[in-house]
């Protein structure tokens, strides 16, 4: 496995399945009396967040702490960054403090990649601009596998297995072969969509992007997925529909006339959800704009995995941190 996790494209199929299987095992820690493992004792993980985030930062923090690592939270607000310190100088400071891993979120695409050249620790991309968010894609894939693989509810030929008590065992080692995933909304600004397309296609799923023409990236033809502008026809043949947040803060121009029109064409309400096959699930990376891309009753329905995704975020990030930091540093014997 690559020493850093910058892009979902860094992961081979086997790497990704190993992360999912490791997370599957770590999920059992949640149910124990003592929800902590000693594995990363004495290691330091720095959360370097240049952009607001609750879910991802707390998720990484919880993951690192469950593995007994020391966690330093560093947010741009209230730090020397506010005084004009550059990313490089901040990186050198962290290096001097002995950070074994840096989890970075940055508004500029490519910042995590730059960081790898300045520090000796591992770098985990927790979202860079409109580029990528690989751990979100991993937790989404984990949630899909948990809900649809090895439960008998799967779709494609390879996605069916006997249901049973040992469903966790059935899932082990398996990818998302044949699963049909539709990702809907602001694809243009979405690092979640990009990472998901790359990871899910590596895992054998068929991904379809649906967005208004103004919110579809020009280069989408080079991505390993299909793309379309019509939602209803895609819903009927989807095992998973993932709604993306309309990212008002990144919209510098008018991408659609009104919120009402967007909602009517691309929002998921109860009527649209009825078009989905019975086993299909509804996902959202959060935070949600209730009433815009997703209706409140859909978000709260039994088919929605939104809360499950958050819980899975911790175990998947534990798996990533363990696999990156738990062993001997490569070439450092």
């Amino acid at each position: 496995m690559n020493p850093h996790l910058i892009s979902a494209a860094d992961l081979s199929r086997d790497d990704a399945v190993l992360i999912l299987d490791t997370a599957e095992e770590l999920a059992s820690v949640e149910g124990r009396a003592i929800r902590k493992l000693p594995t990363l004792r004495g290691r330091t993980v720095v959360n370097l967040f240049y952009e607001d985030s609750t879910r991802t930062r707390t998720s990484f923090e919880a993951a690192a702490k469950r593995l007994s690592a020391d966690v330093i939270n560093f947010s741009a607000k209230g730090s020397s960054v506010a005084k004009g310190e550059s990313l490089k100088d901040t990186a050198l400071t962290l290096e001097a403090m002995g950070a074994d891993a840096v989890v970075i979120r940055h508004p500029a695409s490519g910042a995590p990649r730059r960081l790898t050249g300045w520090i000796s620790g591992r770098v985990v991309n927790a979202g860079d601009g409109t580029h990528e968010h690989p751990t979100q894609a991993l937790l989404d894939a984990f949630t899909m596998r948990q809900r649809l693989i090895g439960t008998g509810a799967g779709a494609g030929a390879g996605a069916r297995a006997a249901a049973g008590a040992g469903a966790g065992a059935d899932r082990r080692g398996r990818d998302l072969d044949g699963l049909r995933v539709t990702i809907v909304g602001d694809v243009l600004h979405s690092r979640v969509a990009r990472s998901n397309v790359l990871l899910l296609s590596t895992l054998g799923a068929q991904v379809t992007l649906v967005a208004p023409p103004t919110l579809m990236p020009h280069a989408v033809g080079t991505w390993p997925c299909r793309a379309g502008y019509e939602l209803d026809s895609e819903l009927r043949k989807s095992d998973v529909v993932m709604m993306l947040r309309v990212q008002q803060e990144r919209m510098t121009a008018a991408y659609f006339p009104t919120v009402r029109e967007y909602r009517r064409r691309y929002g998921l309400d109860a009527g649209r959800m009825a078009l989905l096959p019975e086993h299909a699930i509804v996902m959202h990376p959060g935070p949600m704009n209730r009433g815009v891309e997703i209706a409140a009753d859909v978000a709260d329905s039994a088919r929605s995995t939104i809360v499950q995704q958050v819980a899975n975020g911790v175990t998947v990030r534990m798996a990533v941190l363990y696999l990156m930091l738990g062993g001997m540093a490569e070439g450092a014997a």
Partner: protein
């Protein structure tokens, strides 16, 4: 990124990776031809690859039966016991012991598995390893007599890790240890309560346990380390 915990070729100390090629992977020593008829004397026949059979399938069977009887004796008929195997081969041995206890007493003993990877003291000496399953019987371990089951007892470090892992799962009334082979060379104050065979070895020698479930046949082999 490699898989599996280091195979029973338990070598002590910082020996780094590269100890792959565990048992059951190569053909040579596994060829049961070298044993002739089973039930023999646990002979000292040596095959061309330098591995010597020290326990035959029949002897393994008898050893497990004896251990099952000893467990029942020591725990007053298996009162409140839970067998926890340490992956990979310890899990299969634990299931066999549980079945054997079932034959003798009518009710099989609760059995599970306990992965110790996250508690090992040599994590930093090797690349990160894939985790194996931890599965505790539904009644848990609180107040129970837990019998840890492993294939080979060597340095004792795996068992130390297992005790730590067990500590996070609950508070057993007592913890005991059953192993198929005790090869000596302990590095920690740990001893087994039930031993299939005490096997005097040189430190550099290797012990390989083959089981039908993982390797297609039952056999314990002793060989020289790589020259």
């Amino acid at each position: 990124m490699c898989a599996m915990r280091p195979e029973p070729v338990h070598e002590p100390g910082p020996n780094g990776p590269g100890k792959s090629g565990g048992p059951g992977k190569t053909s040579g020593p596994g060829d049961s031809a070298l044993l002739g008829g089973s039930g023999g004397s646990g002979g000292s026949k040596l095959d061309s690859t330098g591995w010597k059979a020290v326990l035959t399938p029949e002897e393994i069977r008898r050893a497990l039966s004896r251990i099952a009887h000893e467990i029942l004796e020591r725990t007053h008929g298996g009162e409140g016991i839970v067998l926890l195997g340490i992956p990979t081969r310890g899990v299969h041995l634990a299931s066999r012991l549980a079945a054997r206890i079932g034959e003798f007493e009518g009710t099989p003993a609760p059995v599970g598995s306990l992965d110790v990877t996250m508690h090992r003291d040599d994590l930093r000496l090797r690349p990160a390893r894939a985790l194996q399953r931890t599965q505790v019987p539904p009644d848990g371990v609180d107040g129970k007599t837990v019998v840890l089951v492993d294939d080979v007892l060597f340095s004792g470090r795996t068992i130390r890790a297992a005790l730590d892992a067990l500590n996070d799962l609950g508070r057993p009334r007592a913890v005991q240890l059953a192993v198929l082979v005790d090869r000596g060379h302990r590095e920690l104050p740990i001893r087994a309560d039930y031993v299939g065979k005490n096997l005097p070895t040189a430190h550099r020698e290797k012990v390989r346990v083959l089981l039908t479930e993982t390797d297609g046949e039952d056999l314990v082999l002793l060989g020289e380390g790589r020259a």
